[in-house]
């Protein structure tokens, strides 16, 4: 594999860019693997990479029914952060953020991480108290975060709607300076390139049609490209996970919804942080190209179709105009949706499920992108060792039977 560097860019520039190699090798399925990962999004590719890198398992296949990074990995609004409430969640999401902080170097692939900070804005004294509670929890859990006042918020985001007719005035809120954005495609491609370089087979356009289970153990997977023998299968397929788990007779606590995102036409730099309004649920950042990238709450209709509905669009766009009324003049460039897997306590499900050798990494709902490195790291640990890392243990499927939910919807104010 050619290392990417300023020198290699210069060399190729002088040679007319004729020497670049494909970033990863397209593979056809072999008859057997030590482990098979279903889902070629960020989580699945990261799982394969850490299986090879952390555990020395290289007879690994990633099966993707479409193209890699074409699902939610390529459909999110690219925010990464760890401003959660419960210790278990902060341990999980901050592992992810720490891995993101070193990822460009680790993968030798520029993921364009930009830690520009994120403000969760409150509008009432009561909401400010909740924000203080979250900021205190973050500090107790060893993560950067503090309560930001209205003055500082207005200084950082001068275009904020501060007129007397603002429905939701910004009184400040929770600030996390290490939060940021990263180029989501590059995360998928970087993990794919690094995994492929370590010997992992990345197989696109390969749909899993069944799971071969013998005597309560995984014996292989059936695909439209033929059967594959393996004793370990990891599912990392977001909204498609319930259908895959059903092949093993496993029911998961997942509802699937469409989550939409939007990009405006590009404008000059005017917002150098990520902003989320608690009052509307709309969040926004500005891309390097100048486009406003924004989104909000879920469509309220369960679906497996990657299309959004109009009422949710109206809610999200009106939330943006509440923050910045001047944006009413902007045109939308694009709008799209991904199918997210929503769990009652808004925390992921990571762990064994059903037959021996089957593991899931799902339930990330609306927040899977920020968790890609951790999700891959922890699923790889499960596949390689058969046991939990201490960080993933609380997120086992058994928490629903034990009644030990990790309710981040209540804890950190996720709006669904």
């Amino acid at each position: 594999m050619t290392r990417y560097s300023a020198l290699s860019l210069l060399r190729e520039g002088l040679r007319g860019h004729r020497g670049w190699q494909p970033a990863w090798a397209k593979a056809r399925p072999k008859p057997a693997y030590d482990a098979v990962v279903v889902g070629g999004g960020g989580h699945g590719l990261a799982t394969a990479y850490y299986l090879a890198r952390n555990h020395g398992l290289t007879r690994v296949a990633v099966l993707e029914k479409g193209w890699i990074g074409g699902g939610n990995t390529g459909r999110n609004t690219t925010a990464v952060r760890s401003n959660y409430f419960y210790p278990e969640s902060v341990a999980l999401y901050d592992l992810s953020l720490r891995l993101y902080e070193g990822l460009s170097r680790e993968l030798n692939y520029n993921i364009m991480l930009s830690q520009r900070g994120m403000l969760i804005a409150a509008h009432t004294p009561a909401q400010m108290e909740i924000c203080a509670r979250i900021a205190n929890a973050m500090q107790l859990n060893g993560v950067d975060g503090h309560l930001m006042g209205a003055e500082e918020a207005a200084r950082r985001i001068p275009l904020l709607n501060r007129t007397c007719d603002a429905r939701f005035k910004c009184l400040g809120g929770v600030w996390q300076g290490r939060a940021g954005v990263a180029r989501h495609d590059a995360v998928a491609w970087g993990y794919a390139r690094a995994a492929s370089d370590l010997g992992v087979d990345i197989i696109e356009n390969c749909t899993v049609t069944g799971l071969d289970i013998q005597a309560g153990r995984i014996a292989g997977v059936e695909t439209d490209l033929g059967p594959i023998r393996t004793t370990r299968v990891g599912l990392a397929a977001a909204g498609a996970t319930p259908g895959l788990a059903a092949m093993a007779g496993v029911r998961l606590p997942i509802h699937t919804y469409a989550l939409q995102a939007f990009v405006s036409e590009p404008v000059k730099p005017m917002l150098d942080t990520i902003l989320l309004y608690l009052g509307t649920g709309t969040y926004v950042s500005q891309s390097d190209k100048g486009e406003l990238v924004f989104g909000g709450g879920l469509d309220r209709v369960p679906t497996h179709g990657q299309r959004g509905n109009l009422p949710a669009q109206e809610t999200v766009v009106s939330g943006l105009l509440e923050m910045f009324p001047a944006f009413a003049q902007l045109k939308l460039l694009r709008q799209w949706a991904g199918v997210v897997d929503v769990v009652p306590d808004s925390s992921p499900v990571i762990g064994p499920a059903g037959p021996d050798g089957l593991f899931v990494n799902c339930g990330w709902g609306t927040g899977g992108f920020k968790a890609i490195p951790a999700g891959g790291w922890l699923l790889a640990h499960l596949l390689a060792t058969g046991t939990h890392d201490a960080i993933s243990r609380p997120f086992d499927l058994d928490r629903f039977a034990r009644g030990r939910l990790i309710d981040e919807a209540a804890g950190s104010g996720i709006a669904h």
């Binding site: 909204g239 498609a240 319930p242 259908g243 059903a246 029911r251 998961l252 606590p253 997942i254 509802h255 699937t256 309220r300 209709v301 369960p302 679906t303 497996h304 179709g305 299309r307 509905n309 109009l310 009422p311 897997d341 009652p344 629903f400 039977a401 034990r402």
Partner: protein, 88 residues
């Protein structure tokens, strides 16, 4: 804006409706004999079917719960029925 059919009120905007749960769950009884796993499945387990789905919805404006059958990929509504014992 899609419109959903309320068995009592007819076609109304989708914003007037709220998804309740997947239809067809039966509360396991008697409670002392129900295992934690069965109770958790009753509380939280879903099929999240891709394609035809039977779901309990509520029409918020009239307050009636009913069963709607939908295609979860195309979002087409395949049918809407009042719950047993509720006369239209």
């Amino acid at each position: 804006m899609q419109q959903f059919p309320c068995p009592f009120c007819g076609l109304r905007d989708e914003t007037e409706f709220h998804f309740g749960a997947e239809a067809g769950k039966h509360r396991p009884e008697p409670a002392p004999d129900v295992s934690d796993a069965d109770w958790a499945d009753y509380l939280y387990g879903t099929d999240a079917p891709k394609g035809a789905a039977r779901e309990v919805w509520v029409h918020l404006t009239c307050g009636e719960f009913f069963v709607m059958t939908r295609d979860t990929v195309t979002r087409a509504v395949l049918g809407a029925d009042a719950l047993p014992g509720r006369n239209i």
